[in-house]
């Protein structure tokens, strides 16, 4: 910078305004980043959306999909014959079943509405009505329901045993639960990905557009502030919150649902960081032009909604048809979710996520550069 001797007035002001060398000056990038952080923490509602909301969401979903002891399948026994109670008792001796005696009408209704998996009725063996031992069990169920098909096997087994069937081969059972295979294990990395996207975009978009409407950006443009310092400060401030954000969700998931990171925590944080920068870059780009909050909100939703659906936060993206997969794979949220899951659930090393990291870095860098170019200061 050409700091030649400044001619007349500035020096003269010395007495009143100018304290030539003493003017303590922090690096503008530090001051700008501090300003971002202060503005954020002084907005309680923003703090809630970033920290509170994902934890509430994880809690609600974790409760809904919690893994308890496998539930017994409910089965109805029609009360048309005198031995309905004995039949029900025989079924309930099975570890997997719970039988209830109902009238045929009730049983039909319960099956139709899914409250029972199967109905055991009684039919009379053709042409043999006189002997009461000769009745046949009549299983009614919907073969399209997996629980009904299981109930069919288990009920039959229970009734045949009760009637005296013997096992012909000895078997031994070994059961175990694989950690990292529950829904909550799948969900937590997805929630972290979603949250990094949301806070990156909302956190930047509103602040920038508001600063534009109230002419603060114009005022800053009249200072010697370097413009890339300003935009970079938004990305840097995101990094600081990122650590807190991710830590809050992880700690919650660990203590409440015992969700663990199977790979290295450092890799996990590093991927979160790159993902966060990518979304901060995209957020900057979205907020580069709009003049109204409505305008920027619309753009944000337009960008985020497809990723909410497609990027495998709540369910695996592989459910979408093959021809969509290449497109889905290059979405930043897909890259982030897949990489986070690989480290968290499969224990993959950082290097195994090179493709995801490359996709995220490209999104972040290209968005930032375009944003810097097209940014509207007034």
């Amino acid at each position: 910078m050409a700091e030649t001797d400044r001619n007349p007035p500035a020096g003269v002001i010395a007495g009143s305004i100018h304290e030539s060398k003493s003017g303590k000056r922090t690096h503008p990038l530090v001051e700008l980043t501090l300003a971002r952080i202060r503005e954020f923490v002084r907005q309680p509602e923003a703090v809630f959306w970033v920290f509170g909301f994902p934890i509430l969401l994880a809690f609600a979903l974790g409760l809904a999909f919690r893994e308890t002891a496998p539930e017994k399948l409910p089965v109805a026994v029609e009360s048309v014959l005198g031995n309905a109670d004995e039949t029900a008792a025989a079924i309930s001796r099975s570890a997997d079943l719970r039988a209830v005696v109902m009238t045929p009408a009730e049983a039909t209704q319960a099956l139709r509405t899914g409250r029972v998996a199967l109905v055991v009725g009684f039919a009379t063996a053709a042409g043999d009505a006189s002997k009461d031992s000769s009745h046949v069990f009549d299983y009614r169920f919907d073969p399209a329901r997996p629980d009904s098909r299981i109930a069919r096997l288990a009920v039959d087994d229970a009734l045949q045993r009760a009637a005296g069937r013997k096992d012909s081969v000895a078997v031994r059972e070994q059961t175990f639960t694989e950690p990292g295979a529950r829904y909550i294990d799948f969900l937590v990395p997805g929630l972290i990905g979603l949250n990094l996207m949301g806070s990156g975009m909302w956190g930047l978009g509103f602040v920038l557009v508001q600063a534009r409407t109230q002419k603060l950006l114009k005022r800053l443009a009249a200072t010697p502030m370097k413009r890339w310092h300003f935009l970079l400060s938004f990305m840097l401030s995101r990094l600081i919150f990122l650590v807190l954000e991710v830590a809050a969700i992880l700690a919650f998931a660990y203590f409440v649902f015992n969700v663990k990171i199977h790979g290295s925590t450092l890799s996990f944080m590093l991927i979160s960081l790159i993902g966060s920068l990518a979304f901060a870059g995209i957020g900057l780009l979205i907020a580069a032009r709009p003049r109204t909050i409505e305008g920027v909100s619309g753009l944000m939703n337009l960008v985020m909604l497809p990723m909410w659906l497609l990027s495998g936060s709540f369910f695996s993206a592989s459910r979408f048809p093959d021809f969509l997969q290449p497109m889905i794979k290059v979405l930043p949220l897909t890259a982030l979710n897949d990489s986070l899951r690989a480290v968290m659930n499969d224990g993959a090393p950082f290097g195994a996520n090179a493709a995801g990291v490359a996709i995220l870095s490209a999104w972040g860098l290209i968005s930032f550069l375009i944003a810097l170019k097209i940014f509207r200061w007034q």
Binding site: P8, A10, I17, P28, R42, A222
Partner: protein, 322 residues
């Protein structure tokens, strides 16, 4: 850099034109502001003051014309240096609500390679007690003083203030005038826009009166007032329904140097403005003349001639009518 010419002309422009679509905001403007003076741009809303100042500040590009600021031009590789040396208070900037006064000033201070001490600036604008208050909680006058403080924190050579006291109560205005005068006393150059004549008269060494994107009068406030050739203004109206006032005899009255009709929005006719050099002779003669024409006086006031009267005299409109 910063040649000798900058000493005489802190700011110079010629042939400045800025159009927004069909509207010509600035229409061939020539100005020169000397180093160390306080220069006022005066005019009604829409006269092109803000556009002009924003072109000087490097925020808006002119369609044609030249601007030379401290011996440099925008867009020739010196923008950074130029921004280092000017201080800007825009019309109605809202600084970040959630930051405190001190934090805001430290932030702005960090942008400038050289500049004042933040504590000192806070004292200068008398915001010591509000140092830790959030910007959102400040009164209008305090916010405006903070905006000026942000403009001063880089110890500028040239300070731009766009309507710094609009909307402030008289006391807040006085406080701000004090700050501006201190900067001026330290040798700084100021360009301010205003539509308050008393502000221009008090603060400015020279003023340019702008209307429709052009300068229609330029000079020291006292000179401009003197150019009216009168030191008193008599404003009067006649009762409605009366016969029409015949104007020509009034101009022949003793001590009367000029006359204007000012339209008002009310239906009961307009007001007449007489510029008068000898009030003692003119007033009795005016009353006698009205009597002779058989007109009934509705109202009559007199005041010392001001810049406002200069503007009215030049345009036939009041400044604040727009």
């Amino acid at each position: 850099m910063a040649p000798q010419s900058a000493k005489r002309g802190a700011l110079r422009c010629d042939g400045l034109v800025k159009k927004y679509g069909e509207v010509t905001a600035v229409n061939g403007l020539d100005l020169e502001v000397h180093a160390g003076e306080c220069f006022g741009l005066l005019g009604p809303n829409g006269a092109g003051k803000t556009t002009t100042v924003e072109i000087f500040e490097g925020l808006t590009e002119a369609n044609s014309g030249n601007v030379e600021l401290l011996g440099m031009r925008w867009g020739t590789g010196n923008d950074q240096e130029m921004r280092e040396r000017i201080g800007v208070a825009l019309q109605q900037t809202e600084l970040a609500d959630k930051l405190s006064v001190e934090e805001t000033l430290r932030l702005f201070r960090s942008f400038y390679a050289r500049g004042g001490d933040v504590d000192h600036i806070i004292r200068l604008v008398s915001l010591e007690e509000k140092r830790d208050a959030r910007v959102g909680k400040l009164s209008g006058g305090q916010k405006q003083r903070l905006a000026v403080a942000c403009a001063l924190v880089g110890a500028p050579d040239l300070l731009f203030l766009d309507e710094p006291t609009t909307g402030l109560d008289p006391q807040a205005r006085l406080q701000l005038w004090g700050v501006i005068e201190k900067f001026r006393a330290g040798g700084g150059t100021i360009m301010l826009t205003t539509h308050y004549m008393e502000e221009a008269a008090r603060l400015c060494d020279r003023v340019a009166i702008m209307d429709h994107g052009r300068v229609i009068a330029l000079g020291a406030p006292a000179e401009l007032v003197a150019s009216l050739g009168a030191d008193q203004i008599v404003e009067f109206g006649v009762a409605s329904g009366a016969e029409e006032l015949r104007e020509s005899p009034l101009l022949r009255l003793p001590g009367v140097t000029g006359m204007r009709v000012r339209e008002t929005r009310e239906a009961d006719g307009g007001s007449y403005l007489l510029t008068v050099s000898e009030i003692g002779a003119a007033l009795p003669a005016l009353l006698a003349e009205l009597e002779r024409q058989n007109l009934k006086l509705d109202h009559l006031t007199t005041h010392q001639a001001t810049l406002e009267d200069v503007f009215v005299n030049l345009t036939g409109r009041m400044l604040r009518d727009g």
